[in-house]
């Protein structure tokens, strides 16, 4: 199998005032080598928690994985020691966060932060690390990289900071890059630059990308496969062209229909999904999209709908009302 990352029946839970709640409730998908998988859904659907579960950055002990396997290169990341995990994270798996200002250390210079990660993961002299840091900043398109090394994060623009984040994530040439809303805080023009940069680095290093976003436009233009999450579960998963041409779950259809298109007729009512994602403690066992659509009384939707492969590579949660084949 060419699976680089395989997640099986992942359940991640948080301790709250109302008891343990399942933010991620039985999620399975895989990422192949060199491919880009998009993870899409509204806020509160468990996208980021899924990513944090993979790289073991959950706020333990109040948040933890309860069940399931996270297989990376056929090794269960839940079984390895924290020390080994630190080697994987930042080494074999690079991470980009949504808000680079929060992820970069504001009191250290860019250069120091880059050298830190290089020295942590590789046997490398300070001089060589410095040279490598300049190369990395150059590779991500930062002009005058030698000068930028001595800048602090606040001296850079949002787009530049995100480039630095990418440089740090790619420093050890990872096999998998997890990008959590990498362009959400950026302007469209800068977003296009950053997405292009990620794509070109991906080609160069042959790495796989797990792209987390709520923007279906970003998904359509950058991903090979799409995983649609709703309320802690995967409701649909398919290759990108298949998903956009033949969405089968009512939630996916609703999401696609509610984006204003550039060529839609102006000032007409948009399609929308009524209501909102339920709070985690209110999640039901049955179909959660039925819950949102207030169809919950139906006796059919009391138990969890089966998630199955309805056509090659096309997986859907087959709730009798939401699965519209």
């Amino acid at each position: 199998m060419s699976n680089l990352l395989e997640i099986r029946d992942l359940v991640t839970s948080f301790d709250t005032d109302t008891g343990w709640v399942r933010a991620v409730d039985g999620v399975s998908f895989s990422v192949d080598r060199g491919k880009t998988v998009g993870l899409v859904g509204e806020s509160g659907c468990g996208k980021t928690v899924t990513a944090m579960s993979i790289i073991d950055l959950l706020p333990k002990p109040s948040g933890d994985i309860l069940e399931g396997k996270v297989l990376f290169k056929n090794r269960d990341l839940r079984q390895i020691s924290p020390r080994e995990m630190r080697r994987v994270r930042g080494g074999e798996i690079g991470v980009i966060f949504q808000e680079p200002m929060a992820a970069l250390n504001p009191v250290h210079r860019i250069g120091k932060q880059l050298i830190e990660i290089l020295k942590l993961h590789q046997e490398i002299s300070k001089k060589d690390a410095l040279k490598k840091a300049v190369e990395l900043l150059d590779a991500v398109g930062i002009p005058a990289p030698e000068k930028r090394l001595s800048n602090y994060p606040h001296q850079l623009s949002g787009g530049m900071r995100q480039r630095v984040m990418i440089a740090i994530a790619l420093a050890c040439e990872p096999d998998l890059l997890i990008a959590d809303e990498p362009t959400t805080a950026l302007d469209v023009t800068v977003q296009a630059q950053i997405l292009d940069l990620i794509a070109s680095m991906q080609k160069k290093l042959g790495m796989a990308v797990l792209m987390i976003t709520h923007d279906l436009g970003v998904i359509a233009q950058n991903c090979d496969e799409v995983v649609v999450m709703y309320a802690g579960r995967i409701v649909e998963r398919a290759p990108v062209k298949e998903l956009f041409a033949r969405p089968l779950h009512a939630y996916t259809k609703g999401l696609l229909a509610s984006i204003p298109q550039i060529d839609s007729v102006r000032k007409t009512q948009l399609n929308t999904i009524p209501g909102q994602v339920a709070a985690i403690q209110d999640f039901v066992t049955g179909c959660r999209f039925c819950q949102r659509m207030e169809r919950i009384d139906s006796s059919l939707s009391r138990q969890r709908p089966e998630y199955r492969e309805v056509s090659p590579d096309h997986w859907v949660e087959t709730c009798p009302q939401c699965y519209q084949g």
Partner: protein, 328 residues
């Protein structure tokens, strides 16, 4: 300039400069030219969309128009009355005709006031109606924006982002304004919630025949909401045209670049993208001549230095800032 009779808002050569101070004596050593010579008008019942990257001066322009900021130069007239130099006291009375909705309802709503008090506050300020009238009006408004009846007793933190934006809208509607300045009203919302709020805004506009100044950075959203669109770059409007026209026939290189950068939600479409280098330059010392030609390093950029860049009408209602490098 001939004024059309139903012009609601007229903005002429508006400038908003913020002083930059430095040195021991804190003398003014420069200025951030956030808005630098902007003119436009809005007719009653119409939506003007305002787009541009962050830092181009969109929000500052919105605030200067309603005088949450005092403009440095230029003229803003509302229903034919100039408000640029009007006293705060007189302005307060007029403010019931133009209201503002902010991007982040979590920050613009006072967390310690109940939703009922928040929505009633503009009525109190404008001294409209007695307590009973206000209570009825609040119930009516909350219902109109799609919030539950018991919302009036609750506090902002008990609501989701989309619902809080509805509270912000209800508050702005309380005094029956003719113009709403909407500063990124849907940017912080998820797509399905975004479309709910956009539908609400479209409905309300029809029902109360309000005009909107709709500020946003998402071009697909702006196009959907607007009758006309103004594209702003570094404190200036570089292109302004009817919404369909600007998408079908963009003239300025910046507009074209913005349009091509929108990710299209269709995997079968592969377009040639104009990837813009760099960010919006600093408005403290903006480059001479055409600021966009400078950013992309256009070969003809030097020709734009030192000459006046006129804002000309290339076809009916389609205005563009002419320059040697960015407009063919």
């Amino acid at each position: 300039m001939m004024k059309e009779t139903n012009t609601l808002l007229q903005v002429e050569d508006l400038r908003m400069h913020f002083p930059v101070r430095g040195g021991v004596m804190m003398k003014q050593i420069g200025a951030v030219k956030a808005v630098d010579g902007v003119s436009f008008h809005i007719q009653s019942g119409e939506t003007l969309g305002l787009v541009g990257e962050s830092g181009c001066g969109k929000s500052t322009l919105g605030k200067a128009v309603v005088r949450l900021l005092n403009p440095t130069e230029g003229k803003v007239s509302f229903k034919g009355t100039e408000i640029t130099r009007m006293s705060q006291w007189r302005l307060r009375k007029l403010r019931q005709d133009f209201q503002m909705v902010f991007q982040d309802p979590a920050e613009s709503l006072d967390a310690r006031m109940s939703v009922g008090d928040l929505v009633a506050e503009p009525l109190v300020i404008q001294k409209m109606g007695a307590r009973k009238f206000r209570r009825e009006k609040v119930a009516e408004l909350l219902d109109r924006v799609g919030l539950p009846k018991n919302a009036a007793q609750k506090f902002p933190f008990e609501f989701s982002g989309g619902q809080r934006q509805r509270i912000g809208i209800a508050r702005a509607l309380a005094v029956n304004p003719d113009l709403l300045i909407l500063d990124e009203p849907v940017s912080a919302l998820d797509v399905s919630i975004q479309s709910q709020v956009m539908n609400l805004l479209l409905d309300l506009q029809q029902e109360f025949s309000m005009a909107y100044l709709f500020i946003a950075h998402d071009l697909a959203v702006v196009k959907h909401m607007s009758d006309r669109i103004a594209v702003m770059y570094l404190g200036k409007i570089v292109e302004m045209a009817p919404a369909d026209e600007i998408y079908q026939n963009p003239q300025h290189a910046y507009t074209k670049a913005l349009l091509s950068a929108i990710p299209v939600p269709d995997p079968t479409v592969s377009r040639e993208r104009v990837i813009l280098e760099g960010d919006v330059p600093s408005p403290i010392n903006p480059p001479e001549g055409c600021a966009f030609g400078h950013r992309v390093g256009h070969v003809d950029y030097p020709q734009s230095i030192g000459i006046e860049l006129p804002f000309v009408e290339v076809s009916p209602g389609h205005w563009v800032q002419k320059c040697p490098c960015c407009v063919a």
